[in-house]
């Protein structure tokens, strides 16, 4: 009997020991080994990014005293651009700043009807409005402020530009047709762009076309791209497509004895051509296509009509975020007796003028409508004035910051929500660097250092995109609850049932013994 008791005792201890091992060692071990590796992410800082306030500081200065000396020197020349150049040399204006020179009302530097002359770089000449001699300095300055404000708002960014840059993040309450069109036309900010120039020759039997695209790109397009280098990397290529026809048959118009493409039919022109355009397979950058179409001999000359049935002077149209098409008529260059195929050299200056204008629009350089009395100096060889570039940089920085912060916050939310995505160390590192770049960009923007702000915002957006689109972040396995039960129960239930039952038996025996002892003692 005693041996049996001993056996039972040993059994009880064994059951308790097994249960202890399972609970103390087994469960934590199972928990640890089925955990997914999740590197630490700065969630608190990311949630701060959620409601981010950006204060953009536009530094500008006003020079009063220099004007008399300049005025006398320049009266000789009366040439604005030279004046502008020397003014620019006077004060080194940093990126993003606007310098306004105020000249006396009676000065003859500017012609009578011109109130403001906006230079090619970051300076402007403002003729001061008339003031009474009785006014003190403060009144004069406040009177001047209104004029200067107008100049600066033309040259630099305003509320509308910022709203347009954030158009897909912030609700656009007051949407004007102009701003919606602008926001749809300009291509989104991207680390790089590909620009492709294509010459379409549907009739090689009649026309043998020659175009010096390399030279034209070097002299017309490359200066603009060099100037825009802080924004993105650009790659330019060109091709010639033979027997490429447009998707629409142009109609012959007797009144001008020429073929015309109406505005409605322009929608379908690009489609058959687009299939043959091709693109660089290695990069995922957005592509801007510029097509130069030389109509075939039977359909020359070909003109494009706008919605009011008027001829478009440049004979070109563009499609938002896609590119532009220009129709180049060559029928006047040869007579009917010329030997086919006719050698034709394309006038690249005319062509590039149109393409450059379209390229500017598509890259987001807003077209300025200057108020009356303003004269804008033409941008020159670069195709872009410094202050226009600054305006583009402002809107790009803000757009980059907005995009990067939205990406990071949505990534954090996604990773928070889905518990079993593995977060590798490199993703955590990208996220942290994106957050620090974002904070630096915002700080620089507040301080008014545009160049640094743009650089940081670019780094932020690159890091955030890399983190968001990392191939390892794929949440593939969605397990509904009953599937989880179905997997674990066959493994654990057969093991747990004897343990639980034995524990229950121990407890019931202990209770019975206590009851017996109670009965005995009574």
């Amino acid at each position: 009997m005693a041996a049996l008791q001993l056996e039972k005792q040993r059994g009880r201890y064994a059951a308790l020991a097994i249960a202890a091992v399972v609970i103390v060692v087994g469960i934590p071990l199972w928990w640890k080994t089925t955990e997914t590796y999740r590197a630490w992410l700065p969630f608190s800082e990311i949630s701060e990014l959620d409601s981010l306030q950006v204060h953009a500081l536009r530094p500008s200065s006003r020079q009063n005293h220099v004007c008399d000396s300049i005025g006398s020197a320049m009266i000789y020349n009366r040439v604005f651009d030279k004046a502008d150049l020397s003014l620019h040399m006077l004060s080194e204006s940093s990126c993003g700043s606007v310098v306004v020179y105020v000249i006396p009302e009676s000065s003859t530097l500017l012609p009578e009807d011109v109130k403001v002359y906006v230079g090619q770089r970051r300076t402007a000449l403002l003729r001061s409005p008339p003031f009474k001699t009785s006014w003190n300095l403060k009144e004069v300055l406040s009177n001047l402020d209104v004029e200067v404000e107008q100049v600066v708002s033309t040259m630099s960014f305003g509320h509308q530009d910022i709203v347009a840059a954030l158009s897909n993040r912030v609700r656009m309450t007051k949407v004007t047709k102009e701003s919606m069109a602008d926001s749809m036309r300009a291509i989104k900010s991207s680390p790089g762009y590909e620009i492709t120039f294509s010459l379409l020759n549907p009739d090689p039997k009649s026309h043998s076309l020659h175009w010096d695209i390399e030279g034209a790109v070097q002299s017309y397009i490359q200066p603009l791209l060099n100037k825009l280098a802080p924004i993105a990397n650009f790659s330019v290529d060109s091709q010639i497509l033979y027997y490429a026809v447009l998707g629409v048959n142009p109609r012959f118009d007797n009144s001008v004895s020429a073929y015309t493409l109406s505005a409605d039919s322009l929608s379908h022109v690009i489609n058959p051509v687009e299939a043959r355009l091709g693109s660089n397979a290695a990069s995922s950058n957005p592509v801007l296509n510029f097509l130069l179409y030389v109509p075939d001999a039977h359909h020359s000359p070909l003109f494009i009509r706008d919605h009011s049935k008027r001829k478009v002077p440049s004979n070109a149209f563009h499609s938002p975020r896609w590119g532009g098409i220009m129709v180049y008529n060559v029928n006047e260059m040869y007579g009917p007796e010329a030997e086919r195929p006719v050698d034709i050299n394309i006038n690249m200056a005319k062509v590039m003028g149109v393409f450059l204008a379209q390229l500017r629009l598509m890259l987001g350089v807003q077209h300025t409508h200057p108020p009356t009395g303003f004269v804008l100096q033409s941008p020159g060889s670069a195709g872009l004035a410094d202050w226009e570039l600054d305006r583009l940089l402002w809107s790009r920085s803000v757009e980059n910051i907005a995009t990067a912060s939205t990406t990071i916050t949505s990534l954090a939310q996604l990773l928070d929500q889905i518990g079993n995505i593995v977060i590798n160390d490199n993703i955590a590192q990208q996220v942290s660097s994106a957050v620090t770049s974002l904070q630096s960009a915002v700080a620089e923007l507040e301080a008014g250092n545009l160049a640094f702000a743009l650089q940081y915002s670019r780094e932020a957006i690159l890091a955030s995109e890399r983190a968001f689109f990392d191939p390892s972040l794929l949440h593939l396995l969605y397990f509904p609850d009953d599937q989880k039960f179905a997997i674990y129960i066959p493994l654990f239930l057969p093991m747990c049932v004897p343990i639980v039952l034995s524990l229950l038996k121990i407890v019931s025996e202990a209770k019975k013994r206590r009851a017996d002892k109670q009965a005995k003692s009574d």
Binding site: R12, D50, S51, L52, Q53, V54, A56, L57, P59, S60, S61, R62, V148, I162, V163, L166, N168, R169, V170, R171, M172, V175, K177, M180, A181, M184, K188, A263, S267, H268, V269, N271, E274, A275, L277, A281, A282, P286, H307, S319, R321, T406, T407, S410, Q413, I418, F469, D470, P471, L473, L474, Y478, D482, F485, I489, L493, P498, L501, S502, K505
Partner: protein, 357 residues
């Protein structure tokens, strides 16, 4: 000395998490340049998920939608075509290099200008989700990526064998409706689409769009939950069914559409009524901003670059009433196993327990 006014532009950058902002835009006819829908380019993702020769009809379905979409103007660079098996060059195809849609071999939807981006075993749930969310390895070529932006209208067409809440890929794995809804939400978070049209032709197809919760989604399915989508007609020479009923009538409808056509989504909803299709096609428009009557077919199936604009009305249409399906209660498996164990112990006697300790 800078004492000029500080122009502080405060911009609150909010996180717009699935807030369907209903705004109405008025654009005049005269401006005539941009879409009322706000999109500037079109993409299409067409997926056939089943393999084996007897699933010929699913490949024919996908190829006929591909053909319509190309005809209406979307270029190959903007189409991601995923075919799980090769029917045109299958050993059992009596007419090699062709895939027909009609039993009299009237229409060869394969043609000579087909660009398949994902073929054969590359069509997996993982690759499909990677294409949608953009999480592809850096070595992936451009033709295999969905490079859409916030102004892209995307058409997604799925066909194959499906069930209540899932779609079968390659006879070995499945994608659930929750995964699909999450993938669309991730696309929305990254603004990878402007509007999305989702068409599915499988059995119980309506279950796949039940769980969508992102804005600007419109969905069509060939059958309701509990119904099967049927195939159209077999061809005795080829020996298999050539098309599914819903896609057959969809193709017939799309053949009438040309790039300048003004047919709208309400016409698409009427395609293949129950008298023709036996199953009841369903659609879901409650997440879509615009009125389906003002959405052109070519907004999704074609690629029309410039267009006259129309007046927009933000509208919310109601969803078709969902058929309640009975699911076993949670923990059913747990109870089942307990039952099994109890039965075991009962048959073999409770006395066996004492051998354990």
């Amino acid at each position: 000395m800078d004492y000029y006014n500080l122009l502080t532009t405060c911009a609150f950058i909010h996180l717009l998490v699935s807030i369907p902002y209903a705004y109405s835009n008025y654009v005049e006819n005269k401006a005539g340049q941009f879409f009322s829908s706000g999109h500037t380019n079109n993409w299409a993702v067409l997926v056939c998920t089943s393999r084996f020769w007897f699933n010929y009809r699913h490949v024919a379905n996908t190829l006929s939608v591909y053909r319509s979409v190309k005809r209406l103007g979307i270029p190959d660079s903007h189409i991601v075509l995923m075919l799980a098996d090769d029917m045109a060059c299958n050993y059992r195809n009596p007419k090699p290099a062709t895939v027909f849609s009609h039993k009299n071999m009237e229409l060869n939807v394969y043609g000579d200008d087909v660009e398949v981006d994902y073929r054969g075993y590359e069509v997996t749930v993982e690759n499909f989700l990677r294409v949608l969310t953009g999480r592809l390895p850096p070595s992936t070529p451009r033709s295999k990526r969905l490079l859409s932006d916030d102004r892209s209208n995307i058409l997604i067409y799925l066909t194959g064998h499906g069930g209540n809440g899932f779609l079968k890929f390659q006879d070995s794995e499945e994608i659930s409706n929750m995964e699909l809804a999450d993938a669309f939400e991730q696309m929305w978070q990254k603004r990878r689409y402007n509007e999305l049209l989702f068409i599915i032709d499988t059995c119980q197809g309506a279950s796949m769009y039940e769980r969508f919760y992102s804005p600007n989604l419109m969905a069509l399915a060939s059958s309701q939950v509990g119904e099967d989508s049927l195939s159209h007609q077999p061809d005795l020479a080829i020996g298999v069914h050539l098309m599914d009923k819903y896609t057959f009538y969809l193709l017939e409808f799309l053949e009438e559409v040309h790039p300048a056509s003004q047919a709208n989504m309400n016409d698409l909803f009427k395609v293949c009524p129950q008298s023709q299709c036996v199953s009841t096609p369903g659609h879901r428009t409650d997440l879509f901003q615009r009125n389906p009557g003002s959405v052109l077919i070519t907004d999704f199936f074609g690629s029309v670059l410039l267009h006259d604009m129309k007046q927009l009305v933000a509208d919310v249409s109601s969803q078709k009433p969902k058929q309640k399906d009975w699911h076993p209660p949670d923990g059913f498996i747990l109870g089942l196993w307990t039952l099994i164990l109890l039965v075991f112990f009962q048959t073999y006697g409770i006395k066996h327990l004492k051998h354990i300790f």
